[in-house]
């Protein structure tokens, strides 16, 4: 068992000062996680507001204008302040450890990237306090609704906040790319990188290339709204569909930014908990790169019904992108097959990811067919699809990562019973909430409507979905309780509680500031496994 050989610095610094001024990637990673969960819970409360309004027909609980703010801010918080940053946070914590580096390439820029996020969140939420309220035209901010004549200062605050978040992401992506390419330990060649690191690499490329396009769109909209610009406002000679094109050029790669690292997390968890190497490592790498590349060529599948899109190109590319995704699915299943499974909470969430993301992928494939999309565009079918991939997919993967790496980060194990209760509640609650939405979409219920007539025939399914959302809300309790009591008095974890494969398990829990006292020999993508089984260190190691 590795022990730390260096003693801590003699000067006293308060814990608060340490956390606020840290440039240590591990602390910054934890800051990302905590900050992101705060916005997850706020976004969740906004979702409860949405579901309360939709629980019964002809509901007047919230005014339509406030309802629009609720769903706009729900999505904006979840996408920009929860899912994208939390994955950056996991990568921040884990990537330098997994490549055997002492920190990220640019530690101070790393800290800057983090601190821009709570600032941006406060700016965005401040919209609720200004006249006219928060941004209310959907997280997609289409014109003309997003123009100054239909929206207030809240939208400008939203634009500033998202620009800050985008800048934070771009700086982070530069950091990750330089770190991954330049700071690997000796023996850690590119094709021995853990899949999590590969997914962080491709995600960083996507962030680097796509996010600036979003920034340009946000700035153009800001100019339209505040300086009399004529980009997107038809009344001024502008083109509303132009916004959709530029925005979607970002937002489609963005969904891969929101899922690839999760796929990396699942690719770490499945081998460890089935005691088998990941099936098809190289195929995974190429599939990830393929998804990243193809992800740039499908953006207008969000715009099939505008009448301005060359439909066959985008439909074809969208179907094509299902291929590398399917390759990954088969590889994960092959990893589990004939494995010796330990059904600990990380594996449960990883299995939940596999099943839920599969459903989300399939209902997305339906929408890739243009005639189907013509019928289902902007209905609850799409709401079902996006939640199956982003909640069933990304969030379940995030929880898998939390349960898997919590011992490494804190030195304590999470309680398994509470973990299983959490899993059961969120899995059931999630499906009860979102499965009915497939049916609602097929029955024609449009999305983003503040209320619906009782004669439309949507009453029971909506009520069911709202009940499901309460179950999801309840699932937060065992999770939070588990985290709190485990931090205080959880079982000590030791270096390697799960018998892991990758380098983070070769150091203490939590690691010392400089990460490693001693690195095992790196001859494969599973250096800790190799060391544990005597395959390296002069015992005929193989790569």
């Amino acid at each position: 068992m590795a022990t730390t050989a260096l003693t801590p610095a003699a000067t006293y610094r308060s814990a608060l000062y340490e956390w606020v001024t840290t440039t240590d990637h591990k602390k910054i990673g934890i800051l990302y996680l905590v900050n992101s969960f705060v916005f997850f819970f706020i976004g969740g409360i906004l979702a409860l507001g949405v579901r309360s309004q939709l629980a019964v027909p002809d509901n007047k609980l919230f005014s339509p204008d406030l309802y629009n703010q609720l769903f706009t801010m729900h999505a904006s918080l979840m996408l920009f302040l929860f899912i994208i940053p939390i994955l950056a946070g996991f990568a921040n914590y884990v990537v330098p450890l997994q490549i055997g580096a002492p920190d990220m390439a640019f530690p101070r820029i790393n800290a800057l990237s983090f601190w821009m996020l709570p600032l941006a969140g406060i700016i965005m939420l401040a919209g609720f306090l200004v006249p006219g309220g928060a941004a209310a035209e959907g997280w997609t901010s289409y014109s003309p609704l997003a123009q100054a004549k239909y929206s207030g200062v809240g939208t400008d605050l939203w634009l500033v906040a998202v620009t800050l978040i985008g800048t934070s992401s771009i700086l982070g992506s530069v950091n990750f790319l330089v770190t991954i390419f330049k700071m690997r330990a000796p023996g850690m060649t590119m094709f021995r990188l853990p899949i999590l690191v590969w997914t962080a690499l491709v995600t960083s490329v996507l962030v680097l290339m796509a996010t600036p396009v979003l920034t340009s769109a946000l700035i153009m909209l800001f100019i339209d709204r505040n300086y009399g610009g004529a980009f997107f406002d038809p009344a001024n000679g502008g083109n509303a569909v132009l916004w959709q094109n530029i925005f979607r050029f970002y937002s489609h790669p963005a969904v891969y930014i929101m899922i690839l690292i999760v796929m990396g997390i699942v690719s770490e968890v499945l081998p460890v908990f089935s005691r088998k190497p990941l099936f098809g490592y190289k195929a995974f790498v190429f599939a990830t790169a393929g998804i990243g590349a193809l992800g740039f060529s499908v953006w207008a599948h969000h715009m099939f019904t505008t009448g301005t899109v060359y439909l066959p190109f985008f439909s074809f590319m969208t179907f094509l992108i299902a291929v590398p995704t399917g390759v990954k699915m088969f590889n994960w299943i092959a990893t589990l097959f004939r494995g010796q499974l330990t059904f600990a909470t990380p594996l449960l969430f990883a299995l939940g990811f596999l099943t839920m993301f599969l459903i989300g992928g399939i209902n997305g494939a339906f929408s890739a067919a243009v005639p189907v999309d013509f019928a289902l565009h902007d209905t609850y079918w799409v709401v079902a699809h996006l939640h199956y991939v982003l909640f069933g997919g990304s969030v379940f993967g995030v929880f898998a990562g939390v349960y898997y790496w919590f011992p490494k980060m804190s030195g304590r194990m999470l309680n398994e019973t509470l973990g299983k209760i959490h899993f059961l509640l969120v899995f059931i609650g999630f499906n009860v909430t979102f499965f009915p939405m497939h049916l609602l979409g097929l029955e024609g219920m449009p999305r983003r409507i503040a209320t619906y007539a009782s004669t439309a025939g949507w009453n029971q399914l909506n009520l069911l979905a709202t009940i499901g959302s309460l179950i999801i809300a309840a699932s937060a309790v065992p999770f939070l309780w588990n985290v709190l009591i485990s931090l205080r008095s959880g079982e000590p974890a030791g270096d390697d509680p799960w018998e892991g494969n990758t380098l983070e398990w070769a150091t203490t829990s939590p690691p010392p500031p400089y990460n490693f006292d001693h690195l095992p020999e790196i001859r494969s993508e599973r250096p800790v496994f190799d060391a544990r089984h005597g395959r390296t260190g002069g015992h005929g190691g193989q790569s």
Binding site: A105, F106, I170, S173, V174, N175, L177, V178, F181, K182, L208, M209, A210, T211, P212, V213, L214, T215, S216, A217, I219, M220, I223, D224, Y227, G228, G229, A230, F231, N236, G237, G238, N239, L242, N245, I246, F249
Partner: protein, 208 residues
């Protein structure tokens, strides 16, 4: 001359690595290419969907008379020459410090900085003479957004050059350690390339 693989920040030694800060700057520039791509995409889309470009007097009124940038490209052409030359002088500075010629570096960066400032002043003067503004329809909006953000990037470059000049004058750079000079010059070349694209697209290529 660099002796080992680990010498300083010498980007022209292939297969021995680029230093982290310079690699970081190159990647950041890739992101900036995409930022300008969004702005250019908007411009080309607006231009392609307009019945005639620039918009005619019949469409938008007398202000359209000012839209014919091809009639008087002279000031813009002078600005182009200034910016391209400044890229050259900047590179002279890089070559100088690679030879440990600190005074050459200071001279070259100072000249580059002055030319950058002249560019900005000239751009400001050009703006004042154009006769149309940001809120004058699609033409005004796209023109000022594109050139304005380019100008903002030039300003950023001018600030970086000032910092480099200050540090050079304090003797902080040697042949082995001058990452900031290399990174700044790469950024400055990028700003120049964007201007060449802008100048060609807005002033040179024929309109419809």
């Amino acid at each position: 001359m660099p002796q080992t693989a680990h010498d300083g920040a010498l980007a022209d030694l292939p297969r021995h690595g680029i230093s982290n800060p310079i690699l970081g700057m190159i990647l950041f520039i890739c992101s900036e290419v995409m930022f300008f791509a969004g702005l250019f995409a908007a411009y080309f889309n607006v231009r392609a969907t307009a019945p005639i470009w620039p918009p005619s007097v019949a469409e938008v009124g007398p202000i359209a008379e000012h839209f014919d940038l091809h009639a008087e490209p002279w000031l813009a052409a002078v600005l182009t020459i200034i910016l391209v030359s400044s890229s050259f002088t900047c590179q002279l500075g890089v070559w100088a410090i690679r030879r440990n010629d600190r005074r050459g570096l200071i001279r070259a960066i100072a000249v580059t900085l002055v030319m950058g400032v002249i560019f900005l002043i000239g751009q400001g003067y050009d703006y004042s003479q154009l006769g149309f503004g940001l809120s004058d329809g699609t033409f005004g909006t796209t023109f000022f957004t594109l050139t304005g953000f380019h100008g903002a990037h030039v300003l950023g470059g001018v600030i970086m050059l000032s910092v480099v000049l200050f540090r050079a004058m304090s003797g902080q750079f040697t042949a082995r350690h001058h990452d900031a000079v290399e990174a700044t010059s790469i950024y400055w070349h990028f700003v120049d390339v964007v201007w060449i694209a802008l100048f060609s697209i807005l002033y040179i290529i024929p309109t419809r």
